[in-house]
Symmetry: C2
Subunit: 344 residues, 2 copies
DNA sequence: TGTGATTGGGTCGTATTATGACCCTGTTGT
DNA sequence: ACAACAGGGTCATAATACGACCCAATCACA
């Protein structure tokens, strides 16, 4: 039996304590310097509790607290990295990954602890984990497709800057311009490309354009160039969204929303809307990767977290059995819950 | 950094909790079935505290509590073994051993956690640890000398029964009959011999006999046989006593006690009284191993615990630098304290 | 230079928990 | 039958954690 499980058995109290302090440390690290009250806000904990805990952490030499706020000491920063592994084991993340892999029947599942719906740090973690995974499998002369969304924006944000392979090309996997520039696939592709010291192409095409305009756009050399690359992608990293939320974000017409409801769309990825079995129920008319191309890409990596994304993840997992899903604990547990209910 | 140290840093509370529960579990194991009140007595803890803790342990499925008392579950028993290592690391026993080895300037030091003055379980542990160590280094055709005392009695008690080598002989390292048969070297030698499936010889000689009688006894074939073996010993396992306490236990005359005080005797082993530097200040006139023989024996293993034995252990360690000392945490810390004070 | 938003630290009443000091009843071994 | 021991119940009290405030100092920004 592992050391952690052993302790969990004999001193079960440590679980909450350890996680609480871990969260405090992490939140200080990501927001330093930060005050008591702001921290209490972020963690949804009473201010006084923060105080008690921080006093202990201070006593242990992990945080310093001055009049500008609280900061981690060097020791605290070192500690937090090792703590990651403890938390993983404490929560049984490895077992969770294995279980989820079996349930979704896919090649690889990576789970980060926490719930990205409730904590932005978990979203960061997911982004970081995705980045690290990508950097591991990336090879020379790789063409990598990227989609938009807040999750993918976070991946770009957390991507460590490092030239890890030669002649990498980053391209947006589909057109579509959201309101927020930060979460557009174009911006994200550019950001990732810069971090990886790679070249990139942009795809400036709006969503939902009519067939005629589309054909016209395809004649443009700038766009044509990218479209040709779309079929040569070696890797695609994409966010997974909820069908209903994505529909409202994109201001789809009432008719289409009705259609999506009727056909029980639950998930969205690269402009395609899927039901829980992975059937395409509708797709946006824009320039971008097709489902057929998607299925042929060597490495497909989907990223999404939060329990709300559970069904969407299930839908996308049905598309290919050699897909990699990177998600969080909350989504993983929710998926397991859904499957358990269904089989009962 | 090790997992334990990491946790000690971030959740320092667990230290006492873990140790408390460890002690409770151990005491239940060694005394099962045992009641709340008896247990509280043994551990010097309030009865109510035991109740709170046991409730948690019960909830965790580590102890069962019926109307005959409390017992460990199988899981609890499994746990306790792994816990040993955690406690060792928690207390930094390895570091302590290293430090003590350097201070005493001897070949090998083994420390068991706890204080054998305060807990009989620690004495058991020391006995068990000694037994295991002996069984590791024992070889075929070995002649092993044994002394008396409560510590050595515990070694015999905890010795696992196993024939681990051929043609082993166990002999008492010196004569001397105490009041309590159980702690006489004869009984202990016999007990150990039986457990190890070895042969043994006895040495029925009283303490403090005059020279003439001594010479007479040496003519007896039974005694002569053992005495000849004394010089052929391959290993000696001996308890270490405090000079003053041993003197009073043996009812030494006031003159001799005065002498021991004058010459600053602090330790006793195999009938010899030593000052802190390892000089013999007095020895009992009886049949048994001489200091010269002792220094020639291949393996010398001294066992003693409790802070009161600190100086005695220091004295005996000065005799040989290839001696092995098996002691407990309390004695180890006390020795370090004494040396620190002396060097300041 | 003022002003509002933070910051850490102080304090105090209250809720929660741990603990000590008992009681009771049942079982067991003598 | 009795003494010794077992667990469980109860309650007042001590220790602790916590929420809800206050204050003065500091900082960013207008």
């Amino acid at each position: 039996m592992s050391l952690i499980k052993l302790q969990k058995k004999i001193v079960p109290e440590i679980v909450e304590l350890l996680e609480l302090r871990y969260n405090i440390l992490r939140n200080i690290l990501y927001n330093e310097p930060i005050g008591r009250r702001s921290l209490a806000m972020k963690l949804n904990i009473g201010e006084r509790t923060i105080r008690t805990e921080v006093n202990i952490l201070k006593k242990q030499g992990l945080v310093t607290v001055g009049n500008i706020g609280m900061q981690l000491t060097e020791e605290g920063k070192d500690l937090i990295e090792n703590l990651d592994n403890i938390i993983r084991e404490l929560r049984g993340i490895s077992e969770l990954e294995k279980k989820l892999k079996d349930i979704l029947n896919i090649k690889r599942v990576i789970v980060v602890p926490g719930n990205s719906d409730k904590s932005e740090l978990v979203l960061s973690d997911m982004g970081k984990t995705t980045s690290i995974y990508i950097q591991k499998i990336i090879k020379d002369d790789c063409i990598i497709g990227i989609t938009g969304g807040t999750t993918m924006a976070q991946v770009a944000e957390e991507m460590p800057a490092a030239k890890i392979a030669k002649n990498i090309q980053i391209i947006p996997a589909r057109g579509g311009l959201g309101k927020d520039v930060e979460t557009q696939s174009n911006s994200i592709a550019a950001k990732i490309a810069k971090k990886l010291n790679a070249t990139y192409k942009l795809l400036h095409v709006p969503d939902n354009i009519d067939q005629k305009t589309l054909e016209g756009l395809l004649e443009l050399p700038d766009i044509k160039e990218v479209v040709e690359l779309l079929d040569k992608m070696d890797m695609i990293i994409f966010g997974i969204g909820r069908a209903d939320i994505m529909a409202s974000k994109r201001n789809l017409s009432k008719d289409i929303i009705k259609l999506l409801n009727e056909r029980k769309a639950v998930g969205e990825a690269f402009g395609h809307y899927f039901d829980i079995k992975g059937n395409v129920v509708w797709k946006m008319s824009t320039i971008g990767i097709t489902l057929e191309s998607f299925k042929k890409i060597k490495s497909a990596i989907g990223v999404a977290g939060g329990e709300s994304k559970a069904e969407a993840i299930m839908a996308i997992s049905s598309l290919r059995d050699d897909i990699t899903i990177i998600t969080d604990e909350a989504a993983a547990n929710k998926i397991i819950e859904i499957v358990n209910k269904a089989t009962k």
